[in-house]
């Protein structure tokens, strides 16, 4: 997109100009560089607290995984028929988290919602890291992780292929593609900023940024190519994101288990994914704003918009959730109905009700503007929403496996043990560790896009005036 000061262009942008200012348009470009680069130098003390806490949590996860790897999955108290436990539930959770980055950077990008500009970088990083975490869970849950490459379709000396019928092969392919693409997208969108870093760094860092910035000089030709390539990648990423979670949903929807065999699962999963992603963005928004002193960029109006978006998605999710219940309740499948009743009244009922409360009722907090602008409340609410979404995934896996077709193998009292909980906790540590490292090493706020935004806002307000 080549920006001119055409009247028409401003018209388009004007629709997005809110009453409250998203960002102070008077901010100097040099100030933006300075602020962002400073965030990479010396963050608040809280940064190190969070980083070390994540490292500790991650170590717990590593210990549990090593223990499980040595002894077999029995160490995680998995059993027949509770074969998946928290691993697959948490896998879906992390896959879901990854959707926010794509939503903010790709979908909102092609929709010209420029308020996303200060926050899309970290959302994209979140996408990449949560996908990496999700991928880890696939490996963690495998019985013979050392043979995981059997899933990959490549010509080999055994002359065998994976089973192309299996959703897990689609999964592996889709996640692999999505991860690669989102890394490329993240990196690609960062190149102009990396060049700024390169120009301001010394010593080893300079070499590092020099290598990564791939010869970015900021010439017109480079910008032009960059815009086209970035737009192409964005367009490529959107169907990928939708397909990834649809395929994860297919893991369940194409299976026979009562409670999984539901047509509405793909959109339901995608909505759930966007939902938890948005909630996570709110959480990280608040943390980054404080830790890196980004008050000038991650402004309250932007948070307000994110919250409103989250609320909208929460309602979509609620609707699809009700559809799921209704199709089981009014459907002809007696087994599925019994499975639903079990979820609502059986062993795991408290969690099911908690999931519904957290997922469908709590988001109504976001309706109130005063609460939307209250950071501690938003922090708590966003965390609660994600707890709800994690519970949703837990409710998809555990009660369903507990109450399948075959009554003899129902389970009434299965709970995850410390190994599973440790690995799940470790995954949060791993994610936030990577995320914190990223924010320290790379610019967490897109400098060039914020400059664009400031410029456009400035031009817009000038036009208005």
């Amino acid at each position: 997109m080549i920006h001119t000061t055409d009247e028409s262009d401003i018209e388009i942008e004007r629709r997005f100009v809110p009453k409250a200012k998203d960002i102070n348009e008077d901010i100097a470009w040099a100030q933006i560089n300075k602020d962002v680069l400073r965030s990479m130098e010396r963050p608040r003390l809280m940064y190190w607290v969070i980083f070390l806490a994540s490292l500790a949590l991650f170590s717990v996860g590593v210990y549990c995984e090593v223990y499980q790897y040595r002894n077999g999955l029995g160490a995680a108290d998995l059993e027949n028929p509770q074969v998946w436990g928290l691993y697959i539930a948490t896998f879906i959770f992390w896959i879901g988290m990854s959707h926010s980055g794509t939503l903010l950077s790709a979908i909102l990008h092609i929709m010209h919602a420029d308020w996303r500009k200060p926050i899309y970088r970290f959302a994209e990083a979140m996408t990449t890291f949560s996908l990496m975490t999700a991928g880890l869970f696939v490996l963690v849950h495998l019985g013979r992780v050392w043979q995981f490459y059997y899933v990959v379709a490549y010509p080999n000396e055994r002359w065998t292929w994976p089973n192309f019928n299996s959703p897990l092969v689609w999964d592996a392919t889709a996640i692999g593609t999505y991860l690669t693409s989102s890394i490329v997208f993240l990196y690609f969108g960062m190149i102009p900023d990396l060049a700024i870093c390169r120009d301001n760094a010394k010593g080893f860092r300079k070499k590092f940024y020099w290598f990564l910035s791939a010869g970015w000089q900021g010439t017109d030709r480079q910008w032009a190519n960059f815009r086209v390539a970035y737009m192409t990648l964005a367009c490529f990423l959107i169907p990928l994101a939708v397909s990834v979670h649809s395929i994860v949903a297919s893991d369940f929807a194409v299976s026979q288990q009562p409670g999984w065999h539901i047509t509405s699962f793909p959109p339901y999963f995608v909505a759930g994914a966007l939902y938890s992603g948005c909630a996570a963005i709110i959480t990280l928004f608040i943390i980054l704003r404080y830790v890196f002193r980004f008050e000038a960029y991650m402004t309250m109006p932007i948070l307000d918009k994110t919250c409103r978006l989250t609320f909208a998605i929460a309602m979509v999710w609620t609707y699809l959730n009700l559809i799921e219940y209704a199709s089981a309740w009014y459907g002809n499948d007696e087994y599925a109905k019994q499975a639903l009743i079990f979820r609502a009244t059986g062993t795991y009922a408290p969690y099911w009700w908690a999931m519904n409360f957290l997922g469908s009722i709590v988001p109504f907090v976001l309706v109130f503007k005063s609460l939307r602008n209250h950071l501690p409340t938003m922090m708590v609410v966003s965390l609660l929403l994600n707890v709800g979404m994690w519970l949703e995934r837990f409710m998809i896996i555990t009660p369903t496996l507990a109450h399948g077709y075959y009554p003899w193998t129902w389970t009434g009292d299965w709970w995850p043990n410390w190994v599973q909980i440790g690995i799940v906790a470790g995954s949060f540590g791993w994610f936030s560790m990577l995320f914190m490292l990223f924010c320290k090493i790379f610019p967490a706020v897109s400098m060039y896009e914020v400059k664009e935004m400031v410029y456009h806002r400035f031009m817009a307000s000038k036009a208005r005036a």
Binding site: Y154, P155, N156, E157, R158, W159, T160, W210, F211, A214, G215
Partner: protein
């Protein structure tokens, strides 16, 4: 400009190397041979046996049928090693070689009534079931091929070796490559069929 060229070179080399690694299995036979320790179509490691048995004398010079000694091959999944009294059956009567060190060793084992601890040269993983009987019945008895050819498919030209060495890859792809070929059903006909393509035929 210079910087850009350098970067391009780096990326290009990464791409070339990775695609070369990916493409390697496409090369006909390359993937299979890569199983052996010292390269495609090379001999497997030399296995030191308790007695350096001269296959070249027995199967080569004398032209003894493989199954004269390896009798189990046609009636069991396992071909087995010849029983000691089989060796003695002949060597008791062959006075001319009795003083040779290898034969002396043989007699020592016989007198102690101890089995000779032969080592396995063609050792498949434990989850693989290779059935000698089926292959011998099909290719030696029904198709009437020469025994050295039938055994040689997998064991190579043993008649030219002293103690046996592995010369074929014995990898799954190598097995499958032969199972996919059309083979004559029996000597008299032109009807062909290929080997089973079912996992449970070979895996247990």
């Amino acid at each position: 400009m210079k910087v850009r060229v350098k970067n391009c070179l780096i990326w290009l080399s990464i791409w070339v190397f990775s695609s070369a690694a990916m493409a390697e299995p496409f090369v006909q036979g390359g993937a299979i041979g890569s199983q052996t320790e010292d390269g495609f179509n090379a001999l497997g490691p030399v296995v030191e046996q308790p007695i350096e048995f001269p296959h070249n004398t027995h199967a080569g010079q004398m032209g003894i049928n493989c199954m004269y000694c390896h009798t189990y091959a046609r009636r069991s999944g396992v071909s087995g090693i010849p029983r000691l009294d089989k060796c003695m059956g002949c060597h008791n009567l062959i006075e001319s070689v009795k003083d040779r060190p290898r034969i002396k060793k043989l007699f020592e084992y016989w007198e102690k009534k101890e089995p000779i601890p032969w080592k396995k040269v063609h050792d498949l993983p434990d989850f693989v079931r290779f059935n000698h009987e089926r292959h011998i019945q099909r290719f030696y008895f029904k198709e009437d091929r020469p025994v050295r050819e039938v055994c040689g498919y997998c064991h190579g030209d043993i008649a030219s070796m002293t103690t046996a060495r592995r010369v074929k890859a014995l990898s799954m792809g190598w097995c499958v490559s032969c199972h996919q070929k059309e083979h004559l059903e029996s000597a008299g006909t032109t009807k062909t069929s290929n080997g089973p393509n079912d996992c449970w035929q070979c895996h247990k």
